[in-house]
Amino acid sequence: MISFLYLIGFAAFVAIVFGVIHNGELKDKALYGGKVFLQFVGISLILAWILYFLPF
């Protein structure tokens, strides 16, 4: 559980900074930040499941 919380926190912090420095209006920044967050979490979970089934 703690690992998942660190993952969510890490993704959130990075997404917030990426969103803030992104060009565009507030809506564009928020959408971009949200996209970055979901990509971080989604790709991490996919990789976690792939690695779970690998024998080594």
Binding site: S3, Y6, I21, N23
Partner: protein
């Protein structure tokens, strides 16, 4: 336009402060809060003790870590001081590796923020 070197240095030293100097209060406060929070989480998790081995054993990893953590500015310098006397079992902490990553990435995010502040100062960004 303010002195670009000053903006870069103050932005590096105090995360978010460069943007505040440029009048971008909201941006500066958000960046400052996020980077300092990541830094605090890193310190609580034992990240400042990473990598925990001498330079000659793993110099590339050591250099990457040193470069990234110094991106924190004042926090990077503080992390060097805090790492002077590590607990014996720190590498066995569950969150030790996460702390190391948080410290490195907060430094790298601050470097991104420095570039952003400089871009705003020279007019490349609105």
């Amino acid at each position: 336009m303010k002195n670009t070197i000053f903006i870069a240095i103050i932005s590096w030293l105090l995360p978010g402060f460069g943007h505040i100097q440029l009048g971008r209060w909201r941006r500066g406060i958000i960046i400052g809060v996020v980077i300092w929070t990541m830094f605090l989480i890193a310190v609580i998790s034992g990240g400042m003790y990473y990598p925990g081995f001498s330079f000659k054993d793993g110099w590339l990893l050591y250099l990457l870590n040193a470069f990234a953590r110094m991106g924190n500015g004042l926090g990077g310098l503080l992390s060097l001081v805090l790492a002077i006397d590590p607990p014996k079992d720190v590498a066995a902490w569950t969150v030790f590796e996460y702390g190391g990553r948080f410290l490195e990435v907060s430094g790298l995010l601050n470097l991104l923020a420095v570039i952003d502040a400089v871009d705003i100062n020279v007019g490349r960004k609105k």
